[in-house]
């Protein structure tokens, strides 16, 4: 009864079809124009993303939210085709709630990860056709192991645990190197950083990504435009408020060049 609490099965049974196959590949390059990142810090996991949405050379929108809360303890940061990514987030959001409400218990963290993989797997045809590729980062608090965790995925649904940090999107090669450097030879491991230090770090990383990747939006102080930064701890998810981002940016990120 109740499809064992599986909302995705229920949707399918009602005729819903996710990941419409894209048909022929058009050899078009749909880049994952974005930078998203997540790393472990002292109290949990920090997830951050820039806010630019592009189509080819065009900047479509500069206030996109790519770090999306799925429930009180998990977040998905999205890189790739936004239409598919947002649909995935909506399905996941309803799936986790549906599971909790039908089964009268939370879906385990592993169960949540499986749900993400399953959606990506169903989306393979569209991903390969180039019309629906999504490479997300999933982060959340695992109550069984009492720790916050980070996972990242390729567009085919392979799941990797990003032990200390994970990055995705077109700006990610730039900051991947930086993260490796900081975490290996820096004064302090990422996982030892305080909330404030890690926020500064995330702002610096996204600013660097924007420096070398035109599809990543940086900080625009005149427009009061800052990246989205969310912090996941056992208490839940907290979005870093804009005034705090502004304060950190001005104190520790901006330079007069």
């Amino acid at each position: 009864m109740g499809m064992q609490g599986d909302f995705f099965q229920l949707l399918k049974a009602q005729g819903y079809h996710f990941g419409a196959s894209g048909g022929e590949s058009h050899d078009q390059q749909f880049t994952t124009a974005t930078t998203i990142l997540a790393f472990k810090y002292r109290d949990g996991v920090l997830v951050a993303g820039d806010r630019r949405a592009t189509a080819g050379n065009m900047v479509m929108y500069d206030r996109t939210d790519k770090v999306l809360e799925i429930d009180r303890h998990s977040v998905m940061a999205i890189a790739g085709v936004p239409a598919t990514a947002y649909e995935m987030v909506r399905i996941l959001e309803h799936s986790f709630k549906y599971y909790r409400r039908t089964q009268l218990q939370e879906l385990s963290f592993e169960g949540k990860l499986r749900a993400v993989s399953k959606l990506l797997k169903d989306n393979v045809a569209a991903a390969l056709a180039g019309t629906g590729a999504v490479a997300p980062i999933f982060a959340g608090y695992d109550f069984e192991q009492e720790t916050a965790k980070i996972y990242f995925y390729d567009i085919l649904g392979a799941e990797f645990e990003g032990v200390e940090y994970a990055v995705s999107g077109s700006g990610s090669p730039t900051i991947r190197g930086i993260l490796h450097y900081v975490n290996t030879w820096g004064d302090q491991l990422l996982s030892a950083m305080t909330e404030e230090q890690s926020t500064v770090q995330a702002l610096r990383l996204l600013t660097s990504a924007a420096e070398f990747d035109s599809a990543t939006g940086g900080v625009n102080r005149e427009a009061n435009l800052y990246p989205v930064i969310k912090l996941i701890t056992a208490q839940g998810i907290r979005t870093m408020p804009e005034p705090d981002l502004k304060r950190h940016f001005e104190a520790s990120v901006a330079r007069s060049v």
């Binding site: 109740g2 909302f7 809360e69 309803h94 709630k97 549906y98 409400r101 009268l104």
Partner: protein, 269 residues
Amino acid sequence: MYEEPYKWVEAVGNRRQYLDEQFKQGSPVVALAYEAGILLLTVSKGTPKLYEIYDRLALGGMGHPADLEKLRFSLLEMAHVEGFNRSPSDVTGSRMVKYGIAPVIKQAFEEVFKAPFIVKILLTELGAKAGKETFLVINYDGTFDEGSHCAVLAATKAVEQDMMKLLRAEPGGRSLEQAVGVALQAWALGDRLQRQALEADTDHGRESQADSASTDLASLSAYVRETVKEKTIECAVLDRTQPGSAKYRALSPDELGRFLPKDVRASLS
């Protein structure tokens, strides 16, 4: 055998009698508005009777657990599919009841060859603003009532009316603690009336029921103290101040303990 209309009417009448019998020992359910949302309360013997349906919808039930489960699942399916395909704001209690489960319950009730649902259902919906709470009650025959401020489920209409009278006499804008107190009194009143009716049935005598309808606080508290010992007080809220989209929260035993009147708390521990 039911081809003749009057036989069908008779069969439905028998069915009503049969169903009324089934609820006599059920535990009443109370729902009422408080300052931050809606409180639901009942006293159960293990099987839970209060459930989360959707972001702003909660369910309380009386009757057979298997039937309640069946209807709970149809509500959950309807709500989530609708919320996904359209928007969470399109998932309203009134639509769920009128076009969703009330017709199903009515049909099952009138199909005299099949088993009816042995359930009474209370669905509450938290409005976006204070004072916009909706309370829907569906009877086992599929008839439903919509109200605001409060609603109850009990074995008979008469008991429900007495409980409602008690709830309505209390002023609005209560704190959660006050609401728990009032809800518990209403539950005690309903349960005591039901129990006395049962005793009167079995004794074949008309015991004086004058005091059973009395809403005297001390006697209600005493009743709660003696009945809740081997049972669980189940309490849930739809809390407008809760962060995120889902507003349902079951009160933990600790939290509930803090809100219970002192004498009841003592009898629980």
